[in-house]
């Protein structure tokens, strides 16, 4: 069984500083960590490898610091690690990212049986790379997978879709994205880290090494443009009404009655329906 897991390093803090001009995150200012869903995907891969034997490759695209999450994966039991590190890959949207990952997988481990990804990342939340990568590689795929079972070359997976649980069957080779529901990641053994670094094993590849068309990678290859980034939290402003309760309630209704009215009205409607 030949498994490839795509990992992303994301910033550790929840409130991210960003460049207001370019609309991009200032990644340099935050500590990086392995994206939580990617960690679950890696765990799913490690469990499959333990059960089936075989080889597990981890792949990431990012700046040199992204090596950290790859070493972490090696410490946890991955066999080889590849970092796509090239300034030409910077600024990629999900389309350019999935194109690049597809070329890398074909270059590094073309005979893979299963590609695993996290279902979404905490820094951009699009959830698009998995589906787009499946298209690029022309693979059967299932997304938001919580449970999987392998019999021969057939995968049975359970996934969440619009609040329903679906059970699907896929033939290998296939691609899955994994949620954070199951596959609780294991902790890193200290000796695993020592081994990972003793191997000295993260391979660094650039865009040319994976045979990518430079027109299709990075910002150049991106179909989407970020126009504006803003924090919804920054628009929140607390208003404190002071004084006697009766007066405050009156003021509340006067100032926000139109917005509250809708809510109150809805509640009344449901009450009446219930009793009607």
């Amino acid at each position: 069984m030949n498994i490839v897991v795509c990992l992303k390093q994301v910033p550790m803090v929840s409130e991210l500083p960003w460049d207001s001009k370019t609309g991009r995150l200032k990644r340099g200012q935050a500590e990086g960590m392995m994206n939580p869903a990617c960690k679950h995907a890696l765990e799913a891969g490690l469990r499959l490898k333990q059960a089936q034997g075989g080889r597990l490759t981890v792949l990431s695209m990012g700046p040199p610091e992204a090596q950290e999450v790859l070493y972490e994966a090696l410490a946890l039991g991955a066999d080889q690690a590849v970092l796509l590190c090239d300034p030409r890959l910077a600024g990629a949207d999900t389309l350019a990212t999935s194109y690049t990952l597809a070329r890398a997988i074909q270059a590094v481990t073309p005979d893979f049986d299963l590609a695993l990804l996290g279902c979404h990342t905490t820094d951009s939340e699009t959830g698009q790379v998995g589906p787009q990568l499946a298209e690029e590689l022309d693979l059967p795929a299932a997304f938001n997978v919580e449970h999987l079972q392998l019999a021969g070359r057939t995968l049975t997976v359970r996934r969440v879709s619009d609040g329903f649980l679906e059970t699907l069957e896929l033939d290998l080779p296939a691609l899955l994205t994994i949620t954070t529901q199951e596959f609780t990641p294991r902790e890193t053994p200290l000796g695993g880290l020592e081994r990972a670094f003793a191997q000295g094993a993260v391979r660094m590849l650039d865009a040319l090494a994976i045979g990518a068309d430079l027109e299709l990678v990075g910002e150049k290859g991106s179909a989407g443009r970020m126009l504006r980034v803003y924090s919804p939290a920054a628009q929140k402003k607390g208003v404190l009404l002071t004084g006697a309760v009766k007066k405050s309630v009156q003021e509340l209704l006067e100032r926000y009655g139109d917005r509250l009215g809708g809510l109150i009205g809805q509640d009344l409607a449901s009450e009446e329906e219930g009793h009607g």
Partner: protein, 387 residues
């Protein structure tokens, strides 16, 4: 000389921090309040090789270098100093002397259980009349056939209430004074090995520090570590390494206090603005951060000397002396920044303040560290060596 942490040390720190914050973080305050030893954390640490940080992989250890060891202790202690203490003492003054001075037979027989964390190690030197003066040991071990029969009382034994194997400093030949101290490795299940009441201490409260009584406890001569009368040498060697662990522990406490001080100073509003905007508070924070950074460099330098096989005893004593003082001062300032809240058990800094003090006392008081440093200095020519 490399002054920036290498990638390995950075990834290691993140991994240990994630583990410590995830597993220890939620219970750190509770195990201090209840003075409860967290066996569930020991359980979680066992397979991750926290009980064999520097032990060779062929015996089940992680095989890490000494800077890594310091980082592990620092990060555990940043979240719970009492647990950091347990792991530090186990690795540095119980397991390390066994690996360093034990015979191949002793290592094969006793090390795997320690490394796997099935037995927690303890180091029993201090007695009613012996502590800083290691030659004052009165616990007697009388040879009878193939055994030693041991009688005596050890006090303030870190990990005392939970240890599975204790390195016991004993006198085998009461006629000869200092030279006669020897080390016996005593398993807790031996008849006559009795654990006393757990001490009610100001800090490190999750660590069951206790007395250990030995009442005609029979220990096979095969458990003698090194040669008879070799005890002082073993003890001092173990303590050199132990001091790196205590320095790391003190640093972890100081780091936690610095972070808590920073957080609170940004949150707390007085006179209509965050207290972090006042120069006095900024000066406190600047001093705290500078001291912590200096302590860290001193400690890692001592660790790097050990890793490269050079003498490191003087630097280990300097690191221990300095980092423990930094821990006391930085936790004091963190409490000051917190004002009344800092004196309340609801805030972490109250615990850090209590935990910090003992780092100036155990594994060699600050006074003894100065003695060790001065001895090292005076043994050298007055013109400093090129470093």
């Amino acid at each position: 000389m490399e002054l920036n942490p290498c990638l390995k040390h950075k990834v290691l720190r993140k991994s240990v921090r994630e583990f410590a914050e995830g597993v220890l973080g939620p219970i750190a305050a509770e195990i201090d309040h209840q003075a409860r030893f967290p066996w569930e954390v020991v359980e979680a640490m066992r397979p991750l090789q926290y009980f064999g940080i520097q032990a060779p992989p062929e015996l089940g250890g992680a095989g890490l270098d000494t800077i890594s060891y310091a980082i592990v202790i620092e990060e555990l202690s940043r979240v719970s100093a009492g647990v950091g203490l347990c792991v530090s003492v186990h690795n540095s003054v119980a397991l390390y002397p066994l690996l360093r001075f034990g015979s191949p037979e002793q290592i094969q027989r006793l090390a795997p259980d320690l490394i796997a964390g099935r037995r927690i190690g303890a180091f029993c030197l201090t007695e009613a009349n012996a502590g800083s003066d290691a030659s004052g040991v009165e616990t007697m071990a009388v040879r009878q056939g193939g055994d030693y029969v041991v009688s005596g009382t050890k006090i303030f034994v870190t990990n005392g209430g939970v240890c599975g194997l204790a390195l016991m400093f004993v006198v085998t030949d009461p006629g000869a004074k200092q030279a006669a101290a020897s080390v016996l490795m005593v398993e807790k299940e031996r008849p006559g090995f009795l654990v006393g009441e757990i001490e009610e201490l100001a800090g490190m409260r999750c660590n069951p520090v206790s007395s250990i009584f030995l009442e005609d406890c029979r220990v096979p001569a095969a458990n003698l570590l090194g040669r008879p009368g070799f005890g002082l040498k073993i003890g001092l060697t173990a303590l050199d390494t132990g001091r790196l662990g205590i320095a790391a522990q003190a640093l972890g406490i100081a780091q936690a206090a610095l972070e808590a001080g920073l957080r609170y100073a940004k949150e707390r509003q007085q006179f209509g603005r965050a207290i972090a905007s006042f120069q006095t508070i900024q000066n406190y924070l600047a001093d705290m951060a500078t001291e912590v950074e200096a302590g860290r460099l001193l400690l890692y330098r001592a660790c790097a000397l050990k890793d490269s096989g050079q003498a490191f005893g003087t630097q280990a004593a300097m690191a221990k002396l300095f980092c423990s003082r930094v821990a006391r001062e930085v936790t004091n300032l963190a409490v000051q920044i917190h004002g009344g809240c800092g004196y309340s058990k609801e805030y972490e800094v109250e615990r850090l303040y209590r935990d910090a003090k003992v780092t100036e006392i155990y594994e060699g008081t600050s006074e003894i560290q100065r003695l060790v440093i001065a001895r090292g200095l005076l043994a050298q020519p007055a013109v400093g060596r090129a470093v």
